[in-house]
Symmetry: C2
Subunit: 212 residues, 2 copies
């Protein structure tokens, strides 16, 4: 295959070692050019606006501004942006959030590295790149148990160890209402108590632990 033109790539990841690894992998392709790096979501968005790369490799969990928000910002100014998520997270919520924000591909960092290049080429052909592993994880979510915005909000406070009463006063609603929401959350996540709800939500990427 003789590539017609050079493909410009932006790397967004908060880990220096990962950025370096990606550079090393992408260097092997003659028509790939890394035009920029970003260490957080804000940098990624501004770098994309400035550099307009053909493809952006985007980590999800980054400080200051997460990858999902960065994808939204980028797609807002450039709806044709091709973004390939490269995450270590396997939570179905992370995957869904990234894809619905406009990502065209989703790679797991566990994957053997030889998927990065074909994924980028696939995106350049206008084709999404979703490995079966990722698709399966996403499919497990489709069981209709999607939390509402309010429920997600309450879940976030549950992670902090807040009691129902405190959650209520924080949100300006009654403890009874909070209990009603919590009940729905437990049912949707199919768990027994709030502690399990928190751990399941963390594993699925519905909420995240606050930075230390």
């Amino acid at each position: 295959m003789t590539p017609a033109a050079s493909i410009s790539i932006l790397i967004a990841d908060d880990h220096f070692v990962v950025r370096e690894g990606l550079r090393s992998i992408l260097r092997r392709e003659a028509d790939f050019t890394v035009v920029g790096e970003a260490a957080n979501g804000l940098e990624a968005a501004s770098a994309h606006a400035r550099l307009r790369p053909d493809v952006t490799l985007m980590d999800l969990r980054m400080p200051v501004c997460g990858g999902v928000e960065a994808i939204q910002r980028i797609r807002a100014t450039d709806p044709a942006a091709r973004i390939l998520v490269l995450s270590s997270s396997e939570g179905d919520e992370d995957i869904h959030a990234a894809l619905s924000a406009g990502a065209m591909g989703y790679l797991l960092k566990h994957s053997s590295g030889d998927q990065v290049t074909p994924a980028i080429r696939s995106l350049m052909r206008g084709k999404p790149w979703i490995p079966r592993e990722v698709a399966d994880r996403l499919a497990s979510r489709a069981r209709g148990e999607i939390l509402s915005e309010r429920e997600r909000e309450i879940l976030t406070l549950m992670v902090l160890g807040e009691a129902n009463k405190q959650i209520g006063s924080a949100l300006g609603i009654t403890e009874q209402t909070v209990k009603s929401h919590v009940k729905n959350i437990l049912a949707k996540l199919q768990v027994r108590d709030r502690t399990e709800a928190v751990t399941v939500a963390l594993r699925r990427g519905i909420v995240h632990l606050p930075e230390v």
Copy 2:
């Protein structure tokens, strides 16, 4: 500085991209030679026994067998092994476990990458390498709130959302005893309820979420 001899290095990390990034960084040093790679703790231990590298770069969170256990295995057969932990985790318990298992250095993946080389050279001189950032985190632990083995065991079951009664029957003890342990755990972690105990324990690396 003119290096006398070549330094052999083993890389243990489950992420291909990270391994590649480390290779890329280490390649810049003429006297560094990557002699092997491992994708989990067991591979790391057997690779170390076979290759006897001068320094081992070790990730902590790996499948099959974690980094801490790998360090223990390696130090059991080779007490002089020089191991440099390279973790994305900042939990004080992770740091303490790795160091007390015999690691001579601890680097955060966030760090700017130019610390890897001096850290390795420091280890080769027999000097440990603990950045202030890591040392501070470790110091915050020294406030005497160390959980006993039993308490850690109970905390693990709390993460799964088990009720006190179920934890008791799982461990063959009374619910009253479990409550007694839980009370002590809450006091030591300085939290209000079990949900907060779980999230704090996760952040500090005292327990980990089970693999999905």
